[in-house]
Amino acid sequence: MSLTPEQVKRIAHLARIEVSESEALTTQGHLNGIFELIEQMQAVDTAGVEPMAHAQDVCQRLRADAVSEADRRAAYQAVAPETEAGLYLVPKVIE
């Protein structure tokens, strides 16, 4: 499997990364190299092997349902670019 320049640009767009034409071509080469590697790995027979969800064979630790975080809005908003009425302000987004 290999990617087309259009697919590279779509992936870049989904990740909100701006790429120029030349960068798209370079990236296409890099990504196709990765796909070759994946193809090699996919050649391995994994029948009967349980899919691995995490590199460590341990399970998730759980925490008790209790409120442990105090309100630190003032501290967090002190480093935010813009706030008003307790809200973080961002460039307007409406779908």
């Binding site: 989904l14 990740a15 909100r16 969800a53 995490h54 460590q56 341990v58 399970c59 998730q60 630790r61 759980l62 925490r63 008790a64 349902d65 209790a66 409120v67 442990s68 975080e69 309100d71 630190r72 809005r73 967090y76 908003q77 813009e82 008003e84 009425a85 307790g86 809200l87 973080y88 302000l89 961002v90 460039p91 307007k92 987004v93 409406i94 779908e95």
Partner: protein
Amino acid sequence: MNQWEVVIGIETHTQLATVSKIFSGASTAFGAAPNTQACAVDLALPGVLPVLNRQAVECAIRFGLAIGAHVAPKSVFARKNYFYPDLPKGYQISQFELPVVQGGAITVQVGSGDKAYEKTINLTRAHLEEDAGKSLHEDFHGKSGIDLNRAGTPLLEIVTEPDMRSSDEAVAYARALHALVRWIGICDGNMQEGSFRCDANVSVRRPGAPFGTRREIKNLNSFRFLKEAIDFEVQWQINEIEEGRAIQQATVLFDPDTGETRMMRSKEDAHDYRYFPDPDLLPLVISADWLERVRGELPELPAQKRQRFVEQLGLSAYDATTLTASQEIADFYESTVSVAGQAAAKPCANWVMVDLAARLNKDGLDIAQSPVSPQQLGGLVLRIVDNTISNNIAKKVFEALWSGDGATADEVIEKQGLKQITDSGAIEALVDEVLAANPANVAEYRAGKEKAFNALVGQVMKAAKGKANPQQVNELLKAKLAG
């Protein structure tokens, strides 16, 4: 014929009843000042890591057990990637390939009365995930304001198979699910506050044809909107197809003011979430011990209670389903029966389902707000079944209890002198009086006019001020007229 079949699947986001968020220790209380419940984890500040809330998992287990699903001994959290300012991480932690709850089903009753039927809705899955924050688009000098209090609130997203065939079935399912999640205590069900939100996937097809292209109506937060949105969408899709246009897959929003659905985003922008297992979270393991402990703590479920009402109390399937529509109704009914006695189970059912329901409806009240308590209603039914009062008089007593003119049915009956006349001597006197005063009716009845009999009964009841035992009146009249 131009027959179309409607196909509906529903995804419901239920906010789980926890005090803290799914991956952080920030509070989930509703209504706090903006961003005062958004901690470093919710804000996705660099270096923070999620730690899973045990109670959120336990809610998912309760749900899985309640719908007879497979609760996965091992499930995996995944990142759902998209950009939006109310999602600071740039991804939502959700579950994708291995959700915690797999399969299961809910049986619902659709419609009422004679047209009621039962339908089993199969569930595909239910998975744990975090909610996003809230964007406010008005009045910030051309900017959007972001409140992240809701970010990280635990949700269970419950997904059905495309099993529903009408908006009525969709609403019946949504109502049954709403009752169930409250019944098992995993969600407060508050739809105004967004604790229970439905997305409806709607398509139409010719019966027997493959599924049509679906459009997804997002964020329906009332049962009425769910019905209106589906009805509008179905008609819109049928019109499009009949006018020769193909349906494009899309996400749409319902506008309650216009009653219309409108496109939010088309397929091109939608659904390329590039899911992958979240490396910050290890697989969630649910042990058999944990599962069994939760199973042991589950209350009697609606379906079990329903069966018990049929088997032990002799109720019809329809009555039993209606009386188990919510925990509040079931509790009210059971308390009523505990006063009136198991032998009066059927009259109790009628009073709760018909008279009380109508009265509550009239005043726009919930059963939990009923001015007449189950104890009072049970006491009233007791006096009907022991023939102290007739059903008609009982309605009068009920109204008195409703407006607080007496603490118990007995008190009202005593105070207003409503005790039924069962002394056959007294009734006989009344019957004789009426027969003597209405020779025309008597003659008509003897000539074969059944209606004349009813007129005579009415006269006797009137003379008795409604207090004569109707059965005795009937019997005595019949006997006298035959004689």
